[in-house]
């Protein structure tokens, strides 16, 4: 059974149809890249899957691990193992990083009927995972994303992913605003999490990220539809020729 099965998904934002019939199947262990020009519907797809208010699926279905994803609240989706790494991570003044992650992890554990984590044990694990991403302890105490650089915010997203251990991670333009060093650190963090039981959907405008997170499948999204699918070679071709062909074709 596929981990994620999207069939003929249509979605609206403010009454305007942005997704116009997406079909996509993602199996556990796979990395799929979705590439497309600005305005093709990349972020709408990620927000619709994550359940953001105002992103309304009007037609089609999304099955996740055999369950109707669109029927779940955003927090249920997350507890079921869906993770969206935000293109623009949100600043949370007054919410400390450690508290935030502990609350999130314990919410997930409670959802699955597991006991809450011991605070000491949690902090120890968190520090190890942060260290691997080059994040000092001090950053974990600060309010989430407040005053972080673009690179620090993306590292923080990657840390959250490492802690929450999702089954399906959607990376929404994780490369935007990153210099090459930050890109390498974040990609390494993602690659460490690659696992036969886990899948990734990497949404990006540029091929560059895919040099570091190498996909099994590449899809081209244009005007709300997937207009072409192929291997990682397709990404290289897009890098060389641009999206013009696909925009015209769609």
């Amino acid at each position: 059974m596929a981990l994620l099965e999207i069939k003929d998904l249509h979605a609206e934002v403010d009454g305007t149809e942005i997704l116009k019939g997406i079909d996509l199947t993602v199996n556990a262990g796979e990395v799929h890249a979705i590439m497309g020009p600005n305005g093709s519907g990349k972020s709408t797809l990620s927000y619709t899957l994550a359940g953001r208010d105002g992103y309304e699926a009007t037609k089609g279905s999304v099955s996740y691990d055999g369950k109707d994803l669109l029927d779940m609240a955003p927090d249920e989706r997350a507890c079921e193992g869906l993770f969206l790494a935000f293109q623009y991570p949100v600043e949370l003044p007054g919410v400390g990083g450690t508290t935030f992650l502990k609350t999130a992890l314990n919410a997930k554990r409670r959802y699955h009927g597991e006991e809450e984590l011991d605070a000491m044990a949690f902090v120890k694990t968190l520090r190890e995972k942060a260290k691997a991403l080059g994040m000092p302890d001090e950053m974990l105490k600060r309010p989430v994303n407040v005053g972080f650089s673009g690179g620090e915010k993306k590292r923080n997203e990657t840390l959250q992913m490492a802690v929450l251990e999702p089954r399906l991670a959607i990376l929404d333009e994780t490369d935007s605003g990153l210099d090459i060093d930050a890109l390498k650190i974040v990609s390494e963090g993602v690659n460490k999490l690659r696992d036969p039981n886990r899948a990734f959907v990497v949404i990006t405008h540029y091929q560059r990220l895919l040099d570091y997170i190498v996909p099994d499948h590449v899809h081209v999204l244009s005007r709300g539809r997937i207009v072409k699918s192929g291997t990682k070679e397709l990404a290289k071709e897009l890098e060389a020729n641009g999206y013009a062909d696909y925009v015209d074709a769609a």
């Binding site: 994550a50 955003p74 927090d75 949370l92 935030f100 999130a104 919410a107």
Partner: protein, 457 residues
């Protein structure tokens, strides 16, 4: 006095019925009683009471203020702070709940009741009479509730901090409103009083001597579940160079009426560092009046409050800049749910002499439900030409992007909202200069948020 007015104002009746007390402040009581009779229970027609209506008080019956035996223990709503505790139960000193035997060096504490008994009023063992320390209305104008306290006050604290004292251990003043009507143990005489409110008139007179530093925490809490009315007055003087940290928490029970007037005089170079956290009561009005009487005096009157159900939470401030280079800071944050209402009235007066005044007022409210309301009225009245003053007020709902971000990490909506509300409030708690109090207030806020109903708008 018409019958109609008598029916609407139980305090007029109580004043008429009270026995004359020949104590140290008898003349003061008479003047206070007159002041109250002239004004009556404030109505919304009075500008300063425009947003807060006390008529609910008039509907309560009041039990005669009987001696309440002090409870064995204080409720959990009291701030959990390591301190020297001084407790008033329904306005009367509870020695068993007070650490009178371990007062820090430089701190003198007297029971107001003892001082009042020194009938001539001219002197007591400390050489200072109660009448010199108390006033009719603590300097407030149009202040019938403060006058009412003076008319009825029976006990309280007179606290003196010696010149130059650096008091490390904070004092913790606990004001308990107790009404155990739900647990009547066959007290036949008071049976018809079951369900009526217990009124109390706690009083504090505090002098902080020259260059003295002290932290005084307050917890205003309730016990017993029956309706209560606490009408408190604090008169506080900071001498030259004194520093008073004064975190106050109002966490009374749901049936409580809480009115408290605090009058401050702040001398040259002294700094008042106050914080008011209001979490409870059916209706709470805390009024602060600060007079900056000497150059470079500072008044920091910050606070936070939380309303749900149909609560009314009122913070009314008046800062009088009467000397040059004085500073005032008033930042309040409120969270309102249900059909609760928040009131923030702040007036800053800058007199002609008060050049180089630095005054700021800011009120921020989170409105979680359509029925919730906030009335914010920040006001500056400036008669000096070289000043830096500002004021502002904002209100809005929780940030949707932040809410989604938390939920996208698996945190259920109710918990996510509580986290964001706490976060909104928490940075204001950073204004509390005493770490132990800050931590205790933070815990009380978190506990209160967990109990808050209908948090999901």
């Amino acid at each position: 006095m018409s019958d109609a007015r008598t029916r609407q104002d139980p305090f007029q009746d109580a004043l008429d019925a009270r026995a004359t007390r020949a104590d140290a402040i008898a003349p003061l009581r008479e003047r206070a009683a007159e002041a109250y009779r002239d004004a009556g229970l404030p109505t919304r027609r009075v500008e300063r009471w425009k947003f807060t209506d006390l008529k609910g008080l008039a509907k309560l019956g009041f039990a005669p203020a009987a001696e309440t035996p002090a409870p064995d223990a204080l409720p959990e709503t009291v701030a959990d702070v390591e301190a020297v505790r001084l407790t008033l139960v329904n306005g009367r000193v509870a020695p068993g709940l007070s650490d009178l035997d371990r007062l820090p060096k430089g701190v003198t504490v007297r029971r107001l009741a003892d001082v009042l008994e020194a009938r001539d009023g001219s002197s007591d063992e400390a050489g200072e009479g109660a009448s010199a320390r108390l006033s009719v209305d603590a300097g407030f104008t149009d202040a019938p509730m403060a006058a009412l306290n003076t008319a009825f006050v029976e006990d309280g604290w007179l606290i003196d901090i010696a010149d130059g004292a650096m008091v490390d251990a904070p004092l913790h003043l606990v004001f308990l409103s107790a009404n155990d009507t739900g647990n009547d143990t066959g007290n036949d005489a008071g049976n018809d009083a079951a369900g009526s409110a217990v009124a109390s008139y706690p009083r504090l007179s505090l002098h902080v001597g020259r260059d003295a530093h002290v932290t005084i925490v307050e917890s205003h809490v309730g016990q017993g579940g029956g309706p209560t009315f606490a009408d408190g007055v604090s008169e506080i003087a900071l001498e030259r160079g004194a520093v008073l940290r004064h975190p106050v928490m109002q966490n009374e029970e749901a049936g409580a009426y809480h009115v408290h007037s605090t009058a401050l005089t702040i001398a040259e170079g002294a700094r008042y560092d106050g914080f008011v956290l209001q979490l409870g009561a059916a209706l709470a009005r805390r009024e602060v009046r600060a007079e900056l009487t000497g150059p470079k005096a500072e008044a920091h009157v910050n606070g936070a409050y939380l309303g749900d159900g149909a609560r009314v939470v009122d913070n009314t401030l008046f800062v009088d800049h009467a000397a040059p280079e004085t500073v005032s800071r008033e930042t309040f944050k409120g969270v309102l749910d249900g059909t609760s209402r928040g009131v923030f009235q702040a007036k800053t007066l800058v007199r002609p002499i008060a050049q180089k005044t630095d005054g700021q007022q800011l009120h921020k409210a989170l409105l979680l439900a359509d029925g919730a309301e906030v009335d914010a009225k920040p006001e500056l009245e400036i008669y000096a030409d070289d000043v830096a003053c500002s004021h502002g007020a904002t209100s809005g709902d929780l940030d949707r992007d932040q809410l989604f971000y938390l939920r996208a990490r698996g945190i259920p909506e109710k918990r996510a909202r509580a986290m964001l509300i706490e976060a909104f409030m928490i940075d204001s708690l950073n204004a509390i200069g005493h770490e132990g109090a800050r931590e205790a207030f933070r815990e009380a806020l978190a506990a209160r948020l967990n109990r808050m109903e209908g948090i999901v708008g």
